[in-house]
Amino acid sequence: MGPNLWINYGEAVAAILFCIGFTNLLLQTNLIKKIIGLNIMDSAIYLFLAEKGYIAGRTAPIVTGGVTSVEAYINPIPSGLVLTGIVVSVSVSALMLSLTIRLYIRYHSLDLDEIAAQLKKEGR
């Protein structure tokens, strides 16, 4: 264990959330819950990234009163990256949900293993 675990509690929470999402994605049998797990996993990564940019005692990177000194604002890069990431995760979840609807219409089930068994039974 290194020295910074308690100072980095935000990142630690992000790591725990990431693993919860990961477990959901692996173990849930229900597709909808898998998708929620996926979203939680993504949010955890964004939380991790945003914690990286935070600097105690400084304000959001919007220039106020013409002050453009480094000491006044937090790091803007992680915010930008997270903005991009959120767009990606919303597109991915829309795609997954549409796949879920089609699968349900075809097989009336949300369990991938059950669907796979049905497919094999049909022999196609």
Binding site: L17, G21, L31, I35, I40, A50, Y54, S79, V82
Partner: protein
């Protein structure tokens, strides 16, 4: 401010865990929605208002709405009225909903 942050993070973890263990799909989507709201409060604490606005509009808004429509399509809402629905509508709703886990 740090105490507030810690409380919010605790809420995040509680939400994430209870999503996995909730029996009802509608409940888990609602919990996910509150997860997003807590997240957007956390962005404010972390001095990123851009992210807060986006998360509130997208995570708690659009994504949840899409989840609701999906649940509707897969007949996971209205479990109590399912029998009623079967009698009233012409095409009966399938038996195996996603909700009966």
């Amino acid at each position: 401010m740090t105490v507030f942050q810690i409380i919010l993070m605790g809420l995040l973890i509680i939400c994430a865990v209870s999503v996995s263990f909730s029996k009802n799909l509608l409940n888990s989507v609602l919990i996910y929605m509150s997860f997003s709201l807590v997240m957007s409060l956390l962005w404010i604490c972390l001095e990123s208002p851009d992210l807060a606005i986006t998360e509130a509009a997208v995570g708690a808004g659009i994504t949840s709405v899409l989840f609701f429509v999906t649940l509707k399509k897969i007949h996971a809402i209205n479990i109590a009225e399912k029998t009623e629905e079967q009698t009233t509508s012409q095409c009966p709703a399938p038996e195996k909903g996603g909700s009966d886990e």
